[in-house]
């Protein structure tokens, strides 16, 4: 069972309708997107869509209410629609989640949600703050509050987070023996559950970790938390991570557990926790920016791990690292199992809006919007087209682009100027084209121009599209 199409309208950052086609086979999706470009909204869209089926009546799960995620810049209702096919030849089933319709309380979706793997960079942030002492790291918080939070307890049939919340303050008052005994009972259950899980995990995780080329074994030592009824504290919140080396040759082995490796270990543990659970019919694994914390040398093995262990999952991989995106795109292009897409974001006078078009057909999109008389959207796509063209040209020609500390601050001027300089040497752009581009760059291709765009005659916008098209041909 795979997702073949995703249709998102007016959800979070998505203003308007976005359609992602994953082919009838239901390909994996590789997403490049700048920060704020809608990449994380896509991750959330998938996650919340899957989770929206349960807890319909519970008031504390606001997430299952589509209304709370609507794009705030539009009054129009939104939706997320996902199409599924059991395999390429079978018929397609569509599921909708919107304020009006909720088809996600289907067993298929609920089960997919329970068994899904969704990890984002925030889950790994804690690896930066871990306290290392004598090669021992306490990963209790990382595991309990992040990586294992959604695993299901064998005893209570609830998530570890729910079990954890059940032993949080307010604690019973001193002398309330019944309540203290009940709390201690829950603590014992929690300990049993966690220690059982860790025993399985360290075996599986060690195996996966070897794919990174480390001949090591993980040890996750957990002695059980205890409730101290005198001080009213939960003591021994410790899972001590140590690494046993089979290969004495690992250099600087006392500094093995640096942040990058901890990230790798954390991802490994997360993968293991997914692999130890039963699998659902629809299997989704989504990783939002999580490989960023890894050294480049450790990122590629992750692709192998995904290949080997998650070949029956549909994978959604997002990143804001363009270089890494290109590498993955290249690495996965032969398998035919991946689709690569890019998100950009554009600033309008009122708001930021993600821009997405498959195969960079931004100009086509611009024409579509112009035909629909939506000048604003047209201008956004036109500008994106323009920027992508000149940026790519600068990159392929390795033109010296002005250095800005924050890459996001680069604007079209920064790319256009070196092209003009280069043009004085090679003359690949004719002067009328340069003149047109300069003209429209200030009138239409400028982020600050949209307030007046509605006053610009349609003919002029058509000409601007024409000019950018000519530029595209000339720079190819």
């Amino acid at each position: 069972m795979k997702i073949t199409e995703i249709d998102i309208k007016n959800f979070k950052a998505f203003c308007g309708t976005y359609h992602i086609d994953l082919d009838k086979a239901g390909k994996n999706l590789l997403v490049y997107g700048e920060n704020g470009s809608g990449k994380s909204s896509l991750y959330l869209a998938l996650k919340l869509f899957l989770e929206s089926g349960v807890d319909m009546n519970s008031t504390d799960n606001k997430d299952s209410d589509f209304g709370s995620h609507r794009n705030i810049f539009t009054e129009d209702p939104g939706h997320i629609k996902v199409c599924l096919r059991a395999h390429q030849g079978s018929k397609m089933d569509a599921y909708e989640w919107s304020q009006r319709v909720k088809e996600t309380d289907d067993e298929l979706i609920i089960e997919a949600s329970k068994a899904k793997g969704f990890l984002d960079y925030k889950d790994l942030l804690e690896t930066h703050y871990l306290h290392r002492e004598n090669e021992v790291v306490n990963v209790f918080g990382l595991l309990v509050k992040n990586l294992l939070a959604n695993t299901i307890s064998e005893q209570t049939e609830r998530s570890l987070t729910e079990d954890w919340n059940d032993i949080q303050p307010p604690f019973p008052r001193r002398g309330a023996t019944t309540q203290i005994a009940a709390l201690e009972g829950r603590v014992v259950n929690f300990n049993r559950e966690l220690s059982g899980r860790l025993a399985e995990l360290q075996k599986q995780a060690s195996e996966i970790l070897r794919k990174f080329g480390y001949n090591v074994a993980l040890d996750l030592n957990f002695q059980g938390i205890t409730y101290n009824s005198d001080d009213k504290t939960l003591d021994n919140q410790e899972i001590l991570l140590t690494v046993e080396f089979f290969d004495r040759d690992i250099p600087e082995h006392h500094r093995f557990l640096n942040e990058a490796k901890l990230s790798a270990i954390a991802i490994t543990i997360y993968f293991s926790s997914i692999l130890l659970q039963p699998t659902s019919t629809l299997r989704i694994l989504a990783l939002d920016d999580v490989l960023i914390g890894l050294d480049m040398s450790n990122r590629l093995p992750v692709l192998d791990i995904l290949d080997e262990y998650f070949s029956d999952y549909q994978i959604f991989l997002t990143t804001y690292d363009k270089a890494w995106y290109e590498i993955v795109k290249q690495r996965t292009s032969h398998s035919g199992k991946w689709k690569a897409v890019e998100f950009y974001f554009q600033q309008t006078d009122e708001y930021e809006i993600p821009v997405y078009a498959e195969n960079k057909a931004y100009l086509d999109k611009a024409r579509e919007y112009l035909d629909a008389n939506d000048y604003k959207a047209c201008a956004i796509y036109l500008r994106t087209a323009f920027e992508v063209i000149i940026e790519e040209f600068c990159e392929t020609k390795r033109l010296p682009v002005r250095y800005r500390q924050n890459r996001d601050k680069l604007d079209s001027q920064d790319f256009w100027d070196p092209i003009k300089v280069e043009n004085q040497n090679s003359g690949f752009l004719d002067p009328p084209l340069i003149r047109d581009i300069e003209l429209y760059r200030s009138r239409i291709l400028n982020p600050l121009s949209h307030t007046t765009i509605t006053n610009i005659p349609k003919k002029e916008i058509e000409d601007a599209i024409e000019a950018v098209d000519r530029l595209k041909m000339a720079l190819q």
């Binding site: 349960v54 009546n57 067993e107 089960e111 329970k114 064998e154 049939e157």
Partner: protein, 911 residues
């Protein structure tokens, strides 16, 4: 640190209850004696000492002086003993070196409050240390008052004692009357001037300046009592007026006490003078801003005035000031019900009952809420409790009658209304309800008679008029219907029923315009006129046929059904937020389960029941050593010593007996054949003889008619439990009445009864004691549906029950040591497997839709019977567990995804 805090709080006690609690703490072991003083002297001294101080005599030994006095007094009495003479002297106010103490703290409290209303009183608490014991004198014999006051005396060597501050509790002057009132009303034995100064000398000596005022106050209190008891309204009114007069006199005598205002306010409320009541109660609150009771009473008065917001505000204050004030919760519940917030009302009644388990009003009120929500079993339960606790509770009979009416048991309803009317002959509601019942039965004349009586006692009740109109309508006296309906509308212009009734009469009289207007009015007020008409005549055509004339077209159209299925079956009860009180998911699932298979009561061949009442347990239940001794003393003892189980010994699947034995001295036992036992029981003869019932002193109180049922295989569970806790017993344990027994050989039923489905169902249908505890009750237990499954399936469940019985007994499955965590998880996993099979038994269609099977994959495994497992059983079980637990095993997969099934989510509380 700890003691310091305590003494701090001691200096500043705030409420009556706090003071009483504080003193009560010291009374538990009888190691203290108490003295109350209505004003604070410098020292705790004898009157002789004070006398001597006043004339500044410096005597070396005060007791010598006392001895001289006693000697001198001898001439005037027949008493020989010096101490008796001193007691008498003390009694009549003579000068002695005795200081009055009492062993009853309440009496000390009385003295601390009685007198000197303008001064702080105090209670002195004295621990009976060795030093104190030396000074202690007990009164001997004859003086009645000394006995009634539980008197003891301290005879101090120096004429005074100086207890440290820790042991002195000050009584603020404004609490004095409150405490006196408390002592009179809330103690098992009345403590008041009447009982304390129970002879003429007492009366005389207790007179003081304030006596008259006090007297008025006490007079008021006792009149109020009488008024509460009075049944005839006129009499009640008269007595309450008297009460008010006395309180007013007390106030005029300048006894400006909050308690008096509070009491007078209450009395005003009782005679319907609500504004006066609110005035007085406000005054009480002004004088004593932390007066929880006054807030509560004023809230009640506001309630009666219809000012619900103010009322709730006052109840909140009362509860804040005194969180255990059950009355305030009950009253707030009434207020919430008034504004249709049934959930909050229910909560409040629950709390009230929890705080005060004998609170009849709260039961009655809670019953009404349950009745409103359609939960009749719980409603009946509450009314029955109320009636049991207070057999002359007319209101509860009336309400139970209404519940019977809803159930369709009209005769039972009438019986209850009769009783209510017998208890309160002016009970208008009960007349009106009985009228409704007669109307239902078709006894129109009796109905009309009752409605008329109801109108007589409550002339402003529109409903009785309207209903009488219905009765006339049925009789065909349409003019009278119109008359009554019009009267009802005049009293309550929003009474849709009355408009409708008048319209129906209009139809019969062919007054089309008037009928149409009335129909419109009824409809506008929210009445489903089509349904009402349908219930009476089926449809317009039938009506026309019966009457022999046509209904005017426009009117006929108003009464014609346009869409189908528009008759609402039951009224949906909404909470304040507009949500249905119970989710339809829950209601439907409960109904679905209810209709599955056979009820347990029918399924079983023998009746379930509780165990034996073993009280007094220390006599009938003996340990192993005692048993050996009894058998050694006489071999016959062995015949009636039975292995014994307590409710608290029960675990899931398997009991953990504590090695106790029951002396099964059933009714009619030939006790002389068991001489050793008889001799043993004689030691407890006192306690045994005190029991109620007709048994001989050596017999068990209500031993069951059929002792054999203990010897048979059975399932046992505690009478009170958090989660379903049935254990299998095949060894013939005898059980105490804290255990509930289901005689059966079918062990699989243990799996069924311990399942999550049954726990959910049981908590739905039974009367939950609190949020946390369930109670075994035959009435509910027998409703548990037993699903129709094959004997193979039953055997498979039974097989897992056998596994669990074994596992439950293994130390590693219950150990907190994480080294054994896996074993604990195994036990739980096997329980979940049983849960899975039970879900499949109840909800096969729903599970199969998502291709979730448990029986089949488990049968495919051909798991060994428990007896077939050879060698190390634990290791065999671990193998079975790890196999069934593999992540791709269908059982593991189906268990993991079980909560994607909607009903399962409802049961797990996730929907």
């Amino acid at each position: 640190m700890y003691t310091k805090n305590r003494s701090k709080s001691k200096n500043k006690p705030r409420t009556v209850d706090e003071i009483i609690d504080e003193i009560k703490e010291r009374t538990t072991d009888g190691a203290y004696i108490f003295r109350g003083e209505s004003q604070c002297y410098e020292k705790v001294s004898s009157n002789l000492y004070r006398e001597l101080q006043a004339v500044k005599v410096k005597y070396t030994n005060i007791n010598d002086v006392q001895a001289e006095i006693a000697d001198a007094a001898k001439a005037y009495t027949n008493e020989d003993s010096a101490f008796e003479i001193l007691t008498a002297l003390q009694h009549y106010g003579g000068k002695t070196n005795l200081i009055d103490f009492t062993t009853n703290y309440k009496i000390a409290l009385f003295f601390s409050c009685y007198g000197h209303p303008d001064k702080t009183g105090r209670v002195i608490i004295l621990q009976k240390t060795e030093a104190v014991k030396k000074m202690l004198k007990y009164p001997q014999g004859s003086v009645k008052r000394a006995v009634d006051q539980d008197s003891v005396f301290i005879q101090p060597p120096d004429g005074f004692i100086e207890p440290d501050n820790e042991n002195i509790i000050n009584i603020p002057k404004d609490l004095k009357l409150l405490i006196l009132e408390y002592l009179q009303e809330h103690t098992e034995r009345e403590i008041s001037p009447k009982t304390i100064y129970n002879d003429i000398h007492g009366f005389i000596s207790s007179q003081n300046d304030y006596w008259m005022a006090y007297k008025e106050f006490y007079e008021g209190l006792s009149w109020k009592d009488e008024g509460d008891k009075a049944k005839v309204p006129e009499e009640k009114q008269r007595v309450y007026q008297k009460t008010i007069e006395h309180y007013t006199k007390a106030l005029e005598l300048d006894l400006q006490q909050p308690a008096i205002y509070n009491n007078r306010g209450n009395t005003y409320a009782a005679i319907g003078e609500i504004d006066q009541a609110i005035n007085d109660l406000s005054k009480a609150i002004e004088l004593k801003p932390d007066y929880a009771n006054a807030y509560n009473n004023r809230g009640d008065a506001y309630s009666k005035k219809g000012k619900i917001a103010e009322a709730i505000n006052d109840f909140n204050f009362a509860i804040q000031l005194q969180p255990e004030l059950a009355e305030a919760y009950n009253n707030r519940g009434v207020a919430y019900r008034e504004i249709d917030n049934l959930l909050k009302a229910l909560n409040d009644y629950n709390t009230a009952i929890q705080l005060k388990p004998s609170f009849t009003e709260a039961y009655n009120n809670r019953g009404n809420v349950y009745r409103n929500t359609g939960d009749l079993p719980r409603a009946f339960n509450d009314y029955n409790t109320a009636i049991r606790l207070k057999p002359d509770f007319a209101g509860a009979y009336n309400n139970r009658g209404v519940a019977y009416g809803i159930k369709g048991q009209v005769d039972k309803a009438i019986k209850d209304f009769n009783k209510a009317i017998e208890l309160n002959p002016t009970f208008a509601d009960a007349y009106c309800n009985r009228g409704n019942a007669y109307l239902l039965k078709g006894d129109l004349d009796k109905a009309i008679e009752d409605y008329s009586k109801s109108i007589k006692h409550a002339p402003k009740d529109a409903m009785s008029y309207s209903n009488r109109g219905v009765a006339y309508l049925r009789k065909g006296e349409f003019d009278k219907t119109i008359e009554d309906a019009s009267a009802a509308i005049a009293l309550d212009e929003k009474l849709s029923n009355a408009y409708y009734n008048r319209a129906e009469a209009g139809l019969h009289l062919k007054e089309w315009d008037k009928a149409k207007d009335d129909l419109m009015a009824a409809k506008k007020l929210g009445m489903d006129i089509i349904a009402a008409f349908h219930n009476a005549y089926k449809d317009v055509e039938t009506f026309e046929k019966r009457k022999g004339f046509k209904v005017r077209d426009d009117v006929a159209l108003m009464l014609t059904q346009r869409r189908r299925n528009r008759y609402p079956k039951t009224l949906k009860i909404l909470d304040a937020d507009g949500k249905p009180l119970e989710s339809p998911n829950v209601v439907n699932l409960r109904e679905q389960l209810h209709n599955t298979g056979t009820p347990l009561g029918k399924y079983l061949k023998a009746k379930p029941a509780f165990g034996i009442n073993t009280a007094p347990t220390e006599a009938f239940v003996v340990d192993k050593a005692t048993r050996s001794n009894l058998i050694a003393a006489h071999p016959s003892s062995a015949d009636i010593l039975k292995p014994f189980l307590h409710g608290r010994d029960l675990r899931r699947w398997h009991a953990e007996p504590q090695g106790k034995w029951l002396i099964f001295a059933h009714r009619g036992i030939a006790i002389n054949e068991y001489p050793a036992i008889l001799k043993y029981l004689e030691k407890h003869k006192d306690a045994l003889s005190k029991r109620a019932g007709k048994q001989a002193w050596y017999e068990l109180q209500a031993s069951c008619s059929d002792p054999d049922r203990f010897a048979q295989p059975k399932l046992v569970c505690p009478n009170l439990y958090e989660h379903q806790t049935f254990a299998v017993d095949t060894t013939g344990f005898y059980c105490g009445n804290t255990a509930y027994l289901i005689p059966t050989e079918e062990t699989w039923l243990c799996g069924l009864l311990n399942s999550r489905v049954v726990e959910w169902f049981y908590s739905q249908v039974s009367n939950q004691l609190t949020i946390d505890y369930l109670r075994a009750r035959s009435g509910y237990m027998q409703q548990i549906p037993v699903p129709d499954i094959t004997s193979t399936q039953k055997a498979l469940i039974g097989q897992f029950v056998e596994y669990l019985i074994y596992l439950q007994q293994q130390p590693t499955t219950n150990s907190n040591d994480l080294a054994h965590a896996r074993d604990a998880i195994m036990l739980r996993y096997f329980e979940r497997i049983i849960d899975g099979m039970i879900y499949e038994s109840y909800l096969p269609d729903e599970l199969y839709k998502g291709r979730k099977h448990f029986f089949q994959p488990l049968l495919d495994e051909q798991l060994p019977q428990f007896e077939e497992i050879q060698g190390d059983k634990m290791s065999a079980f671990r193998d079975i567990f790890e196999h069934l637990h593999e992540r791709k095993h269908p059982v593991a997969v189906n268990l993991f995804f079980l909560d994607s099934v909607k009903s399962v989510r409802i049961i797990q509380g996730k929907l």
